[in-house]
């Protein structure tokens, strides 16, 4: 349980141990690894979004000198249907295997149909060019309306909608239906003085991590394999690769590199099973690296969505009813983040009557992957936009409207349970009091407010704490460090053990060197792995007390731990002097051997995260270009272990969300071919596009964490979409319902409004 305590090092802004190597280029990322005799692996990808594979002829390619191995779907074992337990999308291992390498059919442009390993990239390219694939081209299904229409072309003829009240008799592109409801929706709307309704669409977007997917795989003749790769979760790489290839997880060791961004996109496998099988066939290590074009086409983007929201309220702003119809694109295999989107959409508000219908829908696009608070930005963009229109209609301040309906401790969440301590109202009040909320705006400028919510995750983590012979500390854990978690783990270990931060080193260990640990994702690492580190450090403290007591020849209950040393309790012989951690470590061989603390846990009670954003924009009425003038991110962190890295998450999430709001979108042609698979044409914001993102951390302690921590990594991306859209609405006087708010779309709206 969270303790009221004064912290010594937690909450300070120390330098992250991996920082210098990362900014000077010394850190090793996925594509940096190399082995002697290594081959270059490459993938042949489908030129069609939807087609049957009639035949693949690899003979000519195999005859090219320097080509060591060629793979097609025929080289892979059949993988049976089995739910992937991780991931809110509810994916299936059979689909994962077919996504890695097509069998019989390609279902998106860029789908892998063959792979080669050769002595050089040029030879691998020549081999790919020599592979002949005969396709029967099918009509692609490229958006939700087309996919859900009666008589739609089916992407998977054997898929029947799950979750319908009655078992369907015909296959459908709708993979799943879910409904959430409370109260009497008809009565709730009847009680309303004002009812507003809107339909909102968001496009397919990419997480935009800078580092492409990359790996090296090597398998020896005895079947023992090693994978070096960039990933958010190397234990998942191990289990997924084993499943796709029919291997035992015990035969696969996965060593994670540093990671250049993931945001949920590196929680699955694309290249690793291919590199492994190519290594097995060739007898050599094989390296594979996606090009940027491949990352856009063939890794997992975020879902495009369509949301229809309706809200009823009394004249004083009290919400009486809310309804949502939410459709999420899953890509070509089932498993969009529809469910969390549906669970989040009304989560910040007390709603006595609501109805939410959610649909998981197949389209001929790459299978979506998790993207930071998966599903929440899309549905909450819709709801928070409509709340803005409701506030305008009621002539209420948008923060006051939210405060009127905001959830607090003891309120029942729309997704079920009652909230424990949460900081939503505190965030709203901080927003209302913030100086940026009072800045006077000029012509063509507008201000928007929006709220965000994310559950945060707990799950399994392990940690070891080793005390070296001089009293310095090594922490061993299994979460790749994306957002500064080494520093956070070191701070928590230092806090517990009473040693300076710079006496703690943190090792992100591989699958054979760390206990099982769930993926770096779900905003879970500082919460769950941090809890494991604290428990492992407390294990050390317990051992130190025992050893000191034994050294002094007294009972262990006569000693205490204080400021990094064991002290005798009052009444013990005055000659007994405190023993520091270093002193106990130096004598460890004579008191029982090395000091090694361990913890493994399945963390429960990850406190939910709330955020409130204020966006100020200026819209150029001649071009439709939107400039962000000010952006204020306010968020409940529970307890900020390292405030700078919490602020970094808030700022990064804000900028990602603003990119989603203002410019980012996948653009397909009529045949389902992506037209903007590169950073020049897929317009993500860069530093010069953005003002400094102002941040304010709210700390309402999470009662289930020893220090009060709640996850902070995902909720920052939820509110910026609506905050920006609401600001543009205020600036131009008309609501644009579809994202992105790119210059052509904004200009068209201005011109339409002006007649």
């Amino acid at each position: 349980m969270s303790e009221a305590r004064e912290f010594k090092v937690v909450g300070t802004r120390v330098i992250r141990p991996d920082g210098v190597d990362k900014v000077t280029g010394r850190a090793n990322f996925g594509a940096d690894f190399a082995l002697p005799g290594m081959l270059c692996g490459k993938v042949l990808r489908s030129p069609y979004a939807h087609a049957r594979i009639k035949s693949i002829d690899t003979k000519q390619a195999a005859a090219i000198e320097g080509v060591y191995a060629i793979l097609t779907g025929a080289d892979f074992p059949k993988v049976g249907h089995e739910e992937i337990t991780g991931g809110e999308g509810g994916g299936d291992f059979a689909d994962l295997a077919t996504n890695v390498m097509a069998r019989g059919k390609v279902v998106y442009h860029g789908h892998a149909v063959a792979a080669v390993a050769a002595t050089s990239a040029a030879i691998a390219d020549a081999a790919l060019a020599a592979i002949k694939v005969d396709y029967e081209v099918l009509k692609p299904v490229m958006d939700l309306d087309a996919a859900m229409a009666d008589g739609a072309t089916l992407i998977n003829e054997r898929m029947f909608t799950e979750g319908l009240p009655e078992k369907p008799t015909r296959p459908s592109n709708v993979a799943a239906f879910m409904q959430f409801k409370r109260g009497d929706i008809t009565k709730g709307f009847a009680e309303a003085d004002v009812v507003v309704e809107g339909t909102y669409c968001t496009p397919t977007v990419h997480q935009g991590y800078i580092e492409p997917h990359a790996c090296v795989a090597s398998i020896n003749q005895g079947g023992q394999a090693t994978i070096w790769c960039c990933t958010q979760g190397h234990f998942d790489v191990r289990s997924m690769t084993a499943k796709v290839l029919g291997m035992d997880v015990a035969d696969i060791r996965v060593i994670p590199s540093e990671i250049g961004g993931g945001f949920g996109g590196k929680t699955t496998v694309y290249l690793e099973p291919l590199a492994m099988l190519l290594s097995k066939k060739s007898g050599r290590p094989v390296k594979m690296t996606m090009t940027r074009d491949e990352v856009f086409r063939a890794s997992g983007p975020g879902s495009a969505t369509k949301s229809v929201i309706k809200i009823g309220a009394k004249k004083d702003g009290t919400i009486t009813a809310m309804s949502a119809w939410l459709a999420y694109e899953a890509g070509a295999y089932k498993g969009s983040p529809m469910a969390p989107g549906a669970m989040c959409v009304f989560a910040p508000y007390n709603v006595p009557n609501f109805l939410i219908d959610g649909f998981d829908v197949l389209v001929n696009k790459a299978k979506v992957a998790a993207y930071r608070a998966p599903g929440a930005p899309q549905s909450m963009y819709a709801c928070e936009s409509l709340l803005d229109d409701l506030a305008r209609k009621l002539e209420m301040d948008p923060i006051d409207l939210r405060l009127k309906n905001a959830v607090s401790e003891g309120c029942q969440a729309s997704y079920g349970p009652k909230f424990n301590a949460i900081g939503f109202k505190e965030c709203l009040e901080a927003a209302k009091a913030h100086p940026n909320y009072k800045v006077k705006l000029g012509p063509n400028e507008g201000r928007g407010v929006a709220a965000g919510f994310w559950f945060n995750a707990g799950m399994q983590s392990s940690a070891e704490v080793h005390i070296n012979e001089n009293g310095t500390v090594t922490v061993i854990e299994g979460n790749p460090d994306i957002g500064g978690s080494r520093a956070s783990m070191a701070l928590m270990a230092a806090e517990e053990l009473g040693v300076p931060y710079d006496k703690v080193r943190v090792l992100v260990a591989d699958t054979e060197s760390a206990g099982y640990t769930n993926t770096t994702g779900g905003s879970r690492v500082t919460f769950a792995t941090g809890m494991a580190v604290i428990q492992a450090a407390r294990d050390i403290i317990a051992q130190c007390k025992q050893r000191a007591a034994a050294t002094w020849g007294i009972e262990v209950d006569m000693v205490d731990w204080q400021d990094g040393q064991v002290i005798p309790k009052p009444g013990v012989n005055a000659d007994v002097k405190p023993l520091t951690l270093a002193a106990i470590a130096a004598n460890a061989g004579r008191t029982g051997g090395p000091l090694l603390g361990r913890a493994s846990l399945n963390a429960r009670g990850a406190g939910p995260g709330f955020a409130v954003n204020i966006a100020d924009v200026r819209v150029d009425p001649e071009t439709g270009k939107v400039d962000v003038l000010r952006f204020t991110a306010i968020q409940d962190a529970g307890k900020a272990i390292h405030p700078s890295y919490v602020e970094g998450q808030m700022q990064g999430g804000a900028v990602q969300g603003l990119g989603w709001a203002l410019n980012e979108e996948y653009v397909y042609d009529a045949n389902g071919v992506l037209q903007n698979a590169g950073f020049l044409d897929y317009r993500m914001p860069v530093a010069s596009d953005m003002p400094m993102i102002d941040t304010q951390i709210i700390e309402v302690a999470n009662p289930t964490h020893p220090y009060g921590v709640r996850g902070v990594g995902e909720v920052p991306i939820v509110a910026p979409l609506a905050a920006a859209a609401n600001a543009v609405r205020a600036a131009i006087g008309v609501r644009i319902h579809d994202l992105p708010l790119s210059p052509p779309r904004v200009l068209a709206a201005i011109e339409a409004a002006n007649g």
């Binding site: 879910m178 969390p340 669970m343 707990g458 779900g522 399945n602 289930t704």
Partner: protein
């Protein structure tokens, strides 16, 4: 008696019942008792859904304690990104 709440997608197993009271000391016990009342429901619960016991969400529950006054909600699993 702990109060147990079922989301819509589980009411197909409970003949439409959305809320009931169960005496159980752990999530495992609770599921066992639900299985007696609603044969087949354990297949849809163990390893399939998350649970919130007194507001704390547990991703993969099994031995987690349930108190006499606990409120238990079944939820879709959330991992995040």
């Amino acid at each position: 008696m702990a109060k147990v709440f079922f989301p819509d997608h589980l009411t197909q197993y409970t003949a439409g019942v959305r809320e009931l009271e169960v005496h159980a000391e752990s999530f495992r016990d609770l599921v066992a008792q639900l299985e007696v009342r609603y044969p087949g429901i354990s297949q849809a619960l163990l390893g399939k859904v998350a649970v919130a016991i007194d507001g704390d969400i547990i991703h993969d529950p099994f031995l987690d304690p349930v108190r006499a006054d606990s409120e238990v909600y079944f939820l879709h699993r959330i991992d995040g990104g």
